[in-house]
Amino acid sequence: MLITLFVSGIVLGCIYGIVALGYSLIYKASGLMSFAQGDLMTVGAYLGITFYSYMKLPFFISIILIGVIMFFLGMGIERGVIRRLRRKGVEPIYVVLATIAISFIIQNGCQKVWGPVMLNFPSIFKTSTIQLFGRNFQTESIFTVIASFTIMAILQFFMKKTKAGTAMRASAMDPIAAKACGINVNITTGLTWGCAGCTAALAGVLMGPLYGVFSTLGSQIGTKGFAAAVIGGYGNFVGSIVGGLILGLLETLTSGYISSNYRDIISYTVLILFLFIRPWGLFNERTIKN
């Protein structure tokens, strides 16, 4: 039982971690919080069904198309809503409220476009289950773990070792200084939101075969992803994955050895404890000061 719960906790944690990566990316590069990440994940899942199941495109092509669409959707949200609000000089809390509104718009929009029915996301692999340590696991679960660590590594490399990533971080730390250095702050911020959209979409495509696709798929996962980001260190990519893993393992082990009724109580209590004791998370991610 422990092995099954442990592996399942890792899988669940990786999903939370991917969503948390999106939160951290946006925060790292623009200093803002977005509560639309979970619902962008839902859009990604629906697009996955559309391209992969309905249009019968190869999975790899579907992923590329989804990535491109979600990139521009993320950029569109930043340009159309976030940037306009920031230009007006509104307090950051109002930007957060705007993302909550976007979240509801996306949920209802998905329902209008794809219908209220839960949709089946067909298996990506020919083998539906594989055996590990004597237990059966869905193949997509293992793929999710590999994908999440890969995305984390790519983002970490991108933000720390590339010019574009450095420009994004500079724009978030001090937009005026960044502009003075010749960095186009608007474009880099837009790129960040675009990348966050891609990340969310990938999480949705990974979740679809595991849990089906419905309009509220991302809303609860989004909340858990936020908690994972806080536990790991809001804005830290490694922390996002680690935070997700901690949360995922906590949930499955609590459900397995105590009761599923206490799962959320314990998970969110841990979140609150982190906020009291170590608000900068496990990886010492300090907030950006003006």
């Binding site: 099954t4 719960l5 669940l12 329902q111 089946n120 539906s128 309009s215 499955t252």
Partner: protein, 412 residues
Amino acid sequence: MRKIIAGVLAVSMILSMTACGGKTTNTETPAGTSASGSQESKIESKGEFILGFCSPLSGSNAEAGMQCLNAVKLGVRQINERGGLNGQQIKIISYDDEANPATSLAAIIKLSTTDDANAIVGSLMSSCILGQLDTINQYKVPVFTGGTSPSLTSQGSKYIFRTTMNQDYAMNDIMAAYEEMGVKTAALFTAQDEAQIKSGEQFEKSCEEKGIEVLGWEYCMDGDTDYTAQCTRLMNMNPEVIFFAAPSQPQPLFVKQIRDMGYKGTLWNKESFQQNGIQIAGENSNYVCFSWPCVSYVDANDATGIMKDFLMAYEAEYGALPTSDCAYRGYDAVLVLEEACKTANANDCQSIADAIVTINQLEALGGVMDFTSGTGEGYQKGQLYYVNDGKYNDFMQWLRDGNYEAFKEQIN
């Protein structure tokens, strides 16, 4: 200018108050049912029969709610084409209760008061109806419900009428099957809302009465999608059968996950396992069993009689067959309403409610409806089915043909 505007507003107010006049004006008493003995007509003086509708049209239960509404609309259109109810055309006023009891209560109050509904097709969610019982009794508008919780009709309300089966009745059929199967151990998996918990409690109690050991009970929270921990615990219990009670969305997810984990025994649903669930769970849905008056279809030609007529009309209207039996609940409500209005020869709320309890041989989508017990229950029994290769099959026939022993050997 101000005086003209004030005058227009005053006239508008007067006119609107006239339009919202009392429920019954010129009424007729059905023979032998009125305490006052009045023989005046009870046909509404307003032009339309207002049929309220209140169910989840968004969120995780939206599919069921939308299909129920579609079926109601279809039934209403058919009745209107036949001349309406006692000469009155039916107008539907619908609200999305979001499966939220508070929202549902507000909708029911609005339908009963401002909208002046003659009857209401109420929420599919038992938890919503339970929160409205006092209100329904207060306003005395007959409410048809597709909720399955036994609690809905056990409170003695004279205005609640169920157009699906009480889930307790399904339990009798399930226990009869278990007796023939020789089941010794069972486990449960349920969601945490009232209907599912009640179903679980009834299952537990019925098992105890039959000497079946209940090895454990696992729960899922609303919005959960990962049931690995619960499935792991259930697998460790190694029950002969697993009973699950959840709203339509978690059902196929649970079936998929428990089967992926390796459970091969029969899975028992508290209600019909819908076609949409079969599509999502795929071949994992094999040997999902249930007792229910009716099932969903992929081809209208597989049905017969009134069900076939309904399915063909639904498909012609909406381009696809309903995937949820909640559509049947809505259509049956309209059938009962039509019969009641015909019997009462009246369209007012009390006459409809009084007439419904006299209905005893109404052919409906799930069989014959009989409300004469006075409990508000229309269907008294269901049929046992099992799913195999995407189709519904007669479970008792399968059992009596000796297939269960071969099945047990195969899974062991």
